[in-house]
């Protein structure tokens, strides 16, 4: 089953980065931009470096389709936030992909 379009970002923040502020900024961003259907994030706390590769945060945005993702990417508020975000990170992995729902949640 073809699902929505996902924007997945893994980062390691720079030492001393204002992580709390950035997280707040990201929450504001996705709330303000309607194209973002849902947003979840999390912080890895325990994994060994061998598996996490030093990445500490994962951000997952869901869009209804690829066009909504494109609209988000081009949104002035996203462009502005990206500059702040980029300055705060030591490394990043970014994957954009159409999501395949191999096992839909029980409620779906």
């Amino acid at each position: 089953m073809e699902g929505e379009f996902k924007h997945l970002v893994l980062v390691k923040f720079k030492e001393g980065a204002a992580v709390g502020e950035i997280l707040k900024g990201m929450e504001n961003l996705v709330t303000e931009i309607e194209a973002v259907k849902s947003f979840e994030w999390g912080q890895e706390m325990e994994g060994p470096e061998m598996l996490t590769q030093g990445f500490t945060h994962a951000f997952l945005m869901t869009f209804e389709n690829k066009e909504a993702h494109t609209a988000f990417t081009a949104h002035p508020k996203h462009v502005e936030f990206s500059a702040t975000f980029s300055a705060a990170i030591e490394k990043i992995v970014l994957l954009d992909f159409p999501a395949i729902r191999a096992k839909p949640p029980p409620s779906a």
Copy 2:
């Protein structure tokens, strides 16, 4: 809002790896193991290496809570599959984290 527990895996497969078989195996695995609440995955097709770091596939499993994730990790079928999976990958990032739902889907 505190959400479920996530198991996120990014990989780059080895050249010549039987990717189709592995994907099938993973779908079977998550279907068979009840602890997995939902499973989505996707393949990045277009992103620049600078952003994808060469990772091509993202796998995202959702669990009701951390205990369900622990049960999954310890499940004999997972242990067996992990051996096959590990042999097929060139690199991996694995993050396990409690998900924060900053913007729940409209239907929620």
